[in-house]
Symmetry: C2
Subunit: 405 residues, 2 copies
């Protein structure tokens, strides 16, 4: 068994780095605070006897040797970066649960056959640098390194420069080595486990998600003398598109999602009809077929509304992460670990993207969920119960041991 | 008669300061470019024999002496600042037409009984620093000097600091002296004169306008696992409010206006339902009673939608500029000048706010409009015909002479 108190204490210590007034955490990717969090993790891993390496994407790997060094490692991990309105558990829990597995094995004097690794993946949130999961994505071959380095935040600072600035641009190539298995434990970030009073989610996969930038272009004109009916006003298109996209999500059942997290306006002058609006659109569905048809309808809605309101429009595909099915053996390892430990559980699909999405392309992978309070995440009030976090880490320990021998 | 070619040449010269790729002008208030424009104007006035003074709001007054120095002056003028997507004529025309009146009188060797003044009012647009017409507003007693100095642009730079920085924080108190009359000539910024093929608009007043910041506050949550029906999403309120406000404008007839020039989002992360949206709302109507009822309905709509969508909301009154009726004698002076000169004309109300709104509180005031192409303003493509600009300046000359003797 892992040490639940030590895990909790480590989570609370890490949460001090970037702590917000409202009890959350704002430790965005490649900021000075991210560096502080990484430094603390590296120190803890070295104290636990791990050797630490950093790759050219800033992904950190802490390795606990196995009896048979040439065996492929069993990997776990998640991310330390947060949303601007982030909490104390999203990502961090998966990283520190991995560390706790190492510490617990050290305490018990247990050596595994295969080496174990705990990974920190860079910029999982996609909040500062879009898209999400770019550290694991480059590593797994989904994105080019140059593409990642060129990603810019809202101030125009690039990923590559910021990574170098905080001293985490490593030497190792961001490429996968053979792995026996990969597991990630995470808070659910949704309300299902809490509502159904289950302690562990056994994940069979991750839903599909598409990110877009929808641009609406009108004609700037004066707020006073310009008659309403001759205006080409991006807000006149925007409200119709929002309305129809919310309806689109409702029509596609309880699992469909439509989210608009960001909007930009040009020129942004109170008494001028805007020239341009750029809306960040996030559409999701667990069934890739359904997501594809939402994608199709989104394009039709935008084109029709733009036509009706005399606007030009453009849809830029920012990111596509198709629905994922996890490895049967890894899912089974989680399932039997949960059964061995006697925790209540539910088989489910993740609504959020996770590093495991990309890892699963190059290694047998699965995930473990624990409940979070009111299903609230990407919110400073994000919360989880120590006993659930402990249970999730115990499942992780058992699943890793099953695969590492 | 004024010299139309010289007026046009001066307009084109001034338009080089802040010229944009698309043929417009971006010379926002209290920027380095604004300073360059002011310097050029001051030089031209001094060359034309005027004495120039600057008040503590940065308003510039160029004075051409009269035969009877103790008589109250006849004033004209407008502004040199532009919108970010501004044109070459909005404001600038009124300033340079005033200068052209002085130059034409000099050429003709005509001395007036009363002194003449040409004013440049600071930050008329309200684009960089809200509200609009703040230079004339402080001067006329509508706003406190401290309030004006504390206004901040989007980067947090204050009006007071920026005014000092460009060297236009003058010594003279921003207070009105007695004036015999004030006139302002301006492009219409709307489509009426062009559509009705009239060369001159004889202005009887200015419509009422209200500016608000509407804030919608929801609950940030994750774009993936959070079910749509438990979200408190500011965009869910926004689209309903926009829809109803556009309908509100339509219900209040062809003169009602609803404009949304700016929007701000927090935290602005693609995969997080926003915590907050702040929408700039501009409502207008020439009939103050109707505007008041639009104001009332706006508050009801926002409250009802916020309630329905589980959002908190707040409406901050940013600015109110009630409908204005101009001075009967000044309007008559314009009317008879137009008749004397034989220009086609139309009596009308301004859809845009102008410095004359505030000047009219402390001096007999009226305005003259000339057509602008397709009614387009606050747009880089803003355009006006040299012959119309010449006609407007001739009307200004005659109206000023009538009042100055
Ligand atoms: N776990 C998490 O918050 N991931 C961010 C990627 C997403 O938007 O789902
Ligand atoms: N003339 C002009 O563009 N004024 C700005 C104030 C307003 O919004 O009407």
């Amino acid at each position: 068994r892992i040490n639940g108190q030590r895990l909790w204490d480590s989570l609370m210590k890490m949460a001090q780095i970037g702590a917000t007034d409202k009890g959350g955490c704002n430790r965005q990717a490649l900021t000075d605070l991210d560096k502080q969090g990484r430094d603390l993790f590296v120190k803890w891993c070295e104290d636990a006897g791990c050797s630490v390496s950093v790759d050219e994407m800033g992904n950190i790997f802490a390795r606990r040797p196995g009896n048979t060094p040439e065996l492929p490692a069993v990997l776990t991990g998640s991310h330390l970066d947060t949303q601007p309105t982030g909490g104390k558990f999203d990502g961090v829990y998966g990283v520190l649960a991995g560390l706790e597995v190492v510490r617990a094995l050290n305490d018990a004097g247990i050596a595994t056959e295969a080496p174990l690794e705990v990974a920190v993946w860079t910029n999982e949130e996609g909040a500062r640098f879009s898209p999400a999961m770019i550290g694991s994505g480059v590593w797994a071959g989904e994105f080019d390194l140059d593409y990642a380095y060129a990603r810019a935040d809202k101030e125009g600072k690039t990923f590559g420069n910021e990574l170098a600035r905080i001293g985490y641009k490593g030497e190792a190539p961001a490429k996968p080595r053979p792995l026996a298995a990969a597991f990630e434990v995470h808070i659910e970030q949704g309300p299902i486990l809490e509502a159904e009073e289950k302690q562990i989610g056994v994940l069979s996969g991750v839903q599909g998600m598409n990110w877009y930038d929808l641009t609406l272009i009108g004609q700037p004109c004066h707020a006073g003398p310009s008659p309403m009916e001759i205006r080409r006003d991006p807000f006149m298109g925007l409200h119709k598109i929002l309305d129809q996209l919310y309806k689109l999500a409702a029509e596609h059942g309880p699992w469909a999602r439509a989210t608009f997290g960001d909007i930009r306006v040009e020129p942004g002058s109170r008494n001028t009809v805007p020239e341009k609006l750029v809306l960040a659109v996030d559409l999701r569905h667990p069934d890739q077929q359904v997501l594809n048809s939402m994608d199709q309808r989104f394009r039709e809605i935008a084109a029709t509304v733009a036509e009706e309101t005399g606007l030009e429009h453009d849809i830029r595909d920012e990111w596509r992460s198709p629905a994922v099915a996890f490895d049967k053996n890894c899912v089974e390892a989680v399932r039997t670990s949960v059964a061995d430990l006697g925790y209540s559980n539910k088989e489910m699909v993740s609504g959020a993207g996770h590093d495991s999405v990309y890892i699963s392309r190059v290694a047998p992978t699965s995930m473990i969920f624990v409940p979070c309070e009111k299903g609230l995440s990407h919110n400073e009030a994000e919360n989880a119960e120590p006993k659930d976090l402990e249970a999730g880490a115990n499942v992780l320990l058992h699943a890793m041991l099953k695969m590492a021998g």
